[in-house]
Symmetry: C2
Subunit: 543 residues, 2 copies
């Protein structure tokens, strides 16, 4: 990417634009909002409050073109092995392919298998909801516990909360992820084994945390149920490892499979989404898929400069690689999107937190930023101080629905007004003169005004995107998640890295195995640095 | 700070040390762990896995000395007006002052007032726990809802979750913060008005979100209770505004006050902590205070180079100002510390996210970083990829208890082993040769080994602190929170900024008022940029 002509032109262009204030860009161009915003269904994507001009966008699209982005998008949908290090396709788009187009892997159309699992999920969900599926004492199911970690947890957890207004009455979905025994203990404390089913979500059925928690849940269950034959009525698996699933006591007929072309962090659209379907019903789950699919169709067909994920990805590159932004804030003005930042943290940082290109060389520019955030308005009372007056440039994505599922009226309007006001404040800031005028109007004396003015100045010129939509529905949730997934792919493609592997999780796992043995046994330690060795000894003395 | 001699020496020293790998620093110095770690009670603070030598630490302490840190610490404890812009002391240390030393503000010893509120809290908590306090139908109280935002929410919420094993049976504490009506609606959905009390936490009793939610709760309550006289049995205030509290229907005898020398983000030690005391009991709350006080005594008396908050603060400055680190990750290996990162996000970013010095000049170096994180081991399956193999240097604080309150044995040992392994992995990394040897041992062929090796290399040399302690008790929680508070003060002092104001929250609030009116009324808009105006019009058409 850094060797393209567009990159050189962007560097030069950045030198010119970095001194310009967005206030001036707005005042010079009355059509800026109309031109620098896009619509997709009821989603309005306003990117006019970025430090760009039309020329910036042209250059960024040229950069994408020179990096072969359109070809790379086509390769993803065609099922090519774009996960180069693991030599697999990345086909989360197949999971939500609502068209009649086949998608081939190794010559086989995978769509019938996708549909078969969706049918299997629907049959199971309907049985649980209708009360046809019963626990070992004959009672219907009231509680569902998803045991999984990483992609088998963050996506479903986020989506289940997002769809709270659609929850089926009588069913409550819980999530356990952490190996910390507190996590399982807190969850079990409010449950009855007779009316609870557990979804064990692990592709290999070998993830350490998930298996430990699954066995903990099984022990707890068997204390009440007694006989192991009852396990099959209370445990199902979201997995591909039929043998291990059966050994655990789960009926293989209740194993919901997925495939090696589904990455963990892209898996909520697969059987991993079973908890979403149990919470909100299979129809809602399919609306979510349809939303994702609608965004897929847009992504594969819209021209680069009208393509939401492309424009969003390019803006991110503009800040990371030209302005040196190290982070990206995600601030949903929607309490039910509380876990969206944590979800996108994995989606983005595990995909693009890499420094080696697909062909094995060191990247020559920064890659994925730190993704973080909390819902608004909460964040305003926490970290917004730094967004407004800190020393760092932090691009912010604001997301806000125009309508609430709850009481219409003022509360939600206050929420919306705050969201729009924060975008405005970040962009325009407050000058020294404005601060002084305001304090004069408040009747402060000149000494106080002079003393306080520097503290009440806001530099502004801080960029944000706004994603405004009608209401938080399953469909828009699907659209938003797919938008971010594709944004991440756009960026990974331009950086030349593989967004679909995660070799960086290996080393810690390997070292943990060694240390666990050493914590639990006496005797000499293997080779460690003095700190790790000292800590193991300290822990041994205290365990 | 940048004009000190120590700063110049640190710049030169950084040039030398930035090329060194911690692996080599460890292998050259067998005593590195012993020397670069500190103990405080049962807390072990290991900072040996940082990119420092003894010389670095000497220079950093010299920097602190040349910035007058010791004097500034003394000024805080002496009650001087260190919150210079608002001309107030910052005396959260008085709230947990368990010594018999008086603390004076304007010549008055404030300790009797602090103790009087603690007595008032104890009496109330005891009444609720004993069942002497009853709801309007005569039933005892089962549920407590804290309605507050920012500092009136994040601290108590974090601490209540942290102290889960100490919760009183029969009482459950809930938190509502967001103006989004979903937040209150979700909480009320599981409550009975007859057995619920609400704590309205707002210093001014005028915070927009808190008042809106308080009125929403009051309406919900009155639908069941009918008569407004019952409000006083179900609503209490954590506030200083007696008049507004009374107007709301709360008995002023049930107003728990605090003072203008308590900043919102430092207020969990004050009456704002009432929800903590209701959850875990007043004795536990006082153990929390005692932990904070113990750290205070350490902070004010330990020499700089053995002083935990000082060393931690200086290490942060080393990374922010010399290595250009833009963020600080907080990763507690304890599910009950899940909200610690969000708590510290406010504590740190609202305190030090500033660019103007106390005397009104622009800072000439970067200040507070973005603070973010999620619990381990969850984070390992999410963003750790980027920590290990991304292009950015991200200092990490790991926190881990050696013992669990829950089932002893393997689960918790796995948690601990993973924590130690991540510190080790970040520090040592994995070389190309090590990656190849490992793949050879796994029997991969040479072509695959060569193809994969660059992806399986970890650069290492990534810094972390480890805070390891026995068990997550109220006392250690107090110690840890006070440690971070003082760390933040150390950094603010060196940067020359005021860590106790928050002017940066003003502008957005002001603009939101204007926009709210415009959303709800027709007619011409006031002066906005084209984007804000366009968005308001779009929303108006759809509301």
């Amino acid at each position: 990417m850094t060797h393209t002509q567009a990159w050189q032109e962007l560097k030069e262009h950045h030198r010119q634009i970095s001194t310009k204030h967005m206030r001036d860009l707005f005042s010079q161009d009355p059509q800026r909002f109309e031109r620098l915003s896009l619509s997709f269904e009821d989603l309005l994507f306003d990117y006019s409050k970025n430090r760009i001009t039309d020329h910036t966008l042209r250059l960024l699209c040229a950069l994408a073109g020179q990096c072969g982005l359109e070809d790379k998008i086509g390769r993803m949908f065609a099922g090519e092995r774009i996960n180069c290090t693991e030599q697999r396709p990345a086909l989360h788009v197949a999971l939500r392919n609502r068209s009649s187009r086949p998608i081939h892997v190794d010559g086989e159309d995978i769509m019938p298998r996708v549909h078969a699992v969706l049918d299997q999920m629907r049959a199971f969900v309907d049985k649980v909801h209708s009360g046809a599926w019963r626990g070992f004492t004959g009672e219907p199911i009231c509680d569902v516990v998803n045991i999984g970690i990483g992609g088998s947890d963050l996506g479903p957890r986020m989506a289940v909360q997002a769809l709270t207004p659609y929850h089926k009455p009588g069913i409550k979905v819980h999530f356990v992820s952490n190996i910390d025994p507190a996590d399982l203990a807190d969850t079990l404390a409010v449950l009855r084994p007779e009316t609870t089913i557990f979804l064990i979500a692990s592709k290999t059925f070998g993830t350490q945390e998930t298996l430990a928690n699954a066995h903990g849940a099984r022990d707890w269950f068997l204390q009440a149920a007694g006989e192991t034959k009852h396990v099959a009525r209370h445990f199902v698996a979201l997995s591909t490892n039929r043998e291990r699933v059966r050994d655990f006591g789960i009926d293989p007929a209740n194993m919901f499979p997925f495939w090696d072309w589904v990455g963990g962090r892209y898996s909520l659209w697969s059987a991993i989404g079973l908890s979403i379907a149990l919470a909100a019903g299979m129809d809602r789950f399919e609306e979510l898929l349809a939303g994702g699919h609608a965004m897929d169709e847009h992504f594969r067909s819209a021209p680069l400069d009208r393509n939401l994920p492309v424009v969003m990805g390019l803006l991110g590159i503009w800040y990371v690689n030209f302005f040196g932004a190290a982070t990206q804030a995600i601030v949903p003005y929607a309490q039910h999107l509380q876990r969206l930042p944590a979800y996108l943290q994995q989606a983005d940082m595990e995909s693009n937190g890499k420094a080696t290109t697909c062909d094995g060389r060191a990247v020559c520019c920064d890659t994925g930023p730190v993704v973080w955030g909390e819902p608004g308005t909460n964040g305003q009372h926490a970290f917004f101080q730094l967004l407004h007056q800190g020393t760092r440039l932090i691009p912010v994505d604001f997301l806000v629905p125009m309508h609430s599922h709850y009481a219409p009226g003022e509360h939600h309007n206050i929420l919306l007004a705050n969201c729009l006001a924060q975008c405005e404040a970040l962009m325009r800031g407050r000058t020294d003169a404005e601060a002084r005028i305001q304090m004069e109007a408040q009747g402060l004396d000149q000494a106080d005004i002079s003393r306080l003015a520097p503290h009440r100045v806001f530099p502004g010129n801080r960029p944000s995107n706004l994603l405004m939509f009608d209401k938080l529905t399953p469909r828009i949730l699907g659209i938003l998640i797919a938008l971010y997934e594709h944004k991440i792919y756009v960026q990974g493609t331009l950086w030349g890295i593989n967004s679909f592997d995660q070799w960086g999780v290996e080393l810690g796992k390997q070292l943990a195995g060694t240390i666990l043995t050493e914590l639990q046994e006496d005797g000499a330690l293997s080779e460690h640095d003095a700190s790790t060795a000292g800590l193991i000894r300290h822990a041994r003395r205290n365990l």
